[in-house]
């Protein structure tokens, strides 16, 4: 794609990481900053609650990306139900759309935030589709 800057990688991210409560900010790395630095796009999951239709819409989007050469990961928060990812609802929605659940990474608020940031950045930089898949789609 001429002159197109897209990174071809994206992350499913819980609301709690995009809008962390004040107390959690010091305990967790700035997930959005790390994702931005890594060239990842973000698909935001809703806060806790019933969001059946919205999750179905998000699953449609994720499957569309996954079927066309984009790498998708899911970033959870250790200690949150389902990592904050609505996993019990989202995983079957993705399977129903012919997509295996994406690789997951859990951020831990109970460890050193700087070290956790490094671990997170390393996970992101190490993840992508196999080269033949990249060559197939990313032209």
């Amino acid at each position: 794609m001429k002159g197109d800057a897209r990174g071809w990688r994206m992350a499913l991210v819980p609301d709690a990481l995009i809008n962390p409560p004040t107390l959690a900010r010091a305990a967790l790395p700035d997930a959005l900053g790390v994702l931005e630095a890594g060239g990842y796009g973000v698909l935001q999951l809703p806060p806790p609650g019933q969001h059946a239709l919205l999750l179905a819409v998000i699953a449609d989007e994720v499957a569309e990306y996954a079927h066309h050469g984009y790498a998708v990961v899911a970033i959870g928060v250790h200690g949150e139900p389902g990592g904050g990812l609505h996993w019990r609802r989202l995983a079957p929605l993705l399977r129903h759309r012919g997509m295996a659940p994406p690789p997951r990474f859990s951020l831990r608020p109970d460890v050193d935030a700087a070290a956790e940031r490094q671990r997170f950045a390393a996970f992101l930089s190490g993840h992508d589709l196999p080269m033949e898949e990249q060559r197939r789609w990313r032209v």
Partner: protein, 200 residues
């Protein structure tokens, strides 16, 4: 208590957090549009990403299109479904007294707020020369349907602006100035009222 205090919430176009949603050759960033995120976060806004209507409808490999090509009953029905998916969350914010604003994507046929792209004779084989469309002052189809859904729920119109990514030639510095002026005018207005916007 932090959890009870009214908050500032910015509804943002899907591609402002994920440039992979853009039409081919339309991505100006790898992923997150950091100037938008910085401007909002530095002013204390929570971010709420909207769904991308074009991606879910026409796919990631879709052709470029203008307002008139998306102005169809089926695309509008699709946009209404997305609006019904996100509206309960927006309603929650408004009913708890949060100040909610909308940041769309000016020039987009779907997500334009102040401007959309128009060319009534586009159609058929995609062989149009570059920058052939016109920019006209009106909402995109998705924003029209989202606002209609919020109105159906008895919710007030949202203060809104657009990040001028799809206006032909992208001027990041100008777009940033524009966005910051909009946000700062909200601060000034809230300050002169001595409060923030009222819940419906």
């Amino acid at each position: 208590m932090e959890q009870d205090a009214p908050r500032k919430v910015a509804l943002i176009a899907n591609c402002l957090l994920n440039q992979n949603a853009k039409v081919c050759e339309g991505a100006h960033y790898r992923g997150v549009v950091s100037p938008v995120v910085e401007a909002l976060r530095s002013r204390g806004y929570r971010l709420q990403q909207l769904p991308c209507p074009e991606l879910a409808f026409a796919g990631v490999r879709r052709w470029w299109a203008v307002y008139e090509q998306y102005d169809t009953p089926v695309y509008r029905a699709h946009c209404r479904r997305l609006a019904q998916a996100i509206a309960p969350l927006i309603e929650q914010y408004l009913r708890r007294g949060d100040e909610v604003i909308l940041i769309g994507l000016d020039g987009s046929p779907s997500t334009g707020v102040r401007f959309t792209s128009s060319k009534p004779d586009w159609g058929g084989r995609p062989n149009r020369p570059e920058d052939d469309w016109e920019i006209v002052p009106r909402r995109g189809v998705w924003i029209e349907e989202l606002e209609a859904e919020l109105a159906r729920r008895g919710l007030p119109p949202l203060p809104a602006t657009g990040w001028a990514l799809d206006m032909g030639r992208f001027d990041e510095a100008g777009s940033r100035r524009d966005l910051e002026q909009f946000l700062d005018s909200r601060e000034t207005a809230a300050g002169s009222r001595g409060d923030d916007s009222a819940a419906p």
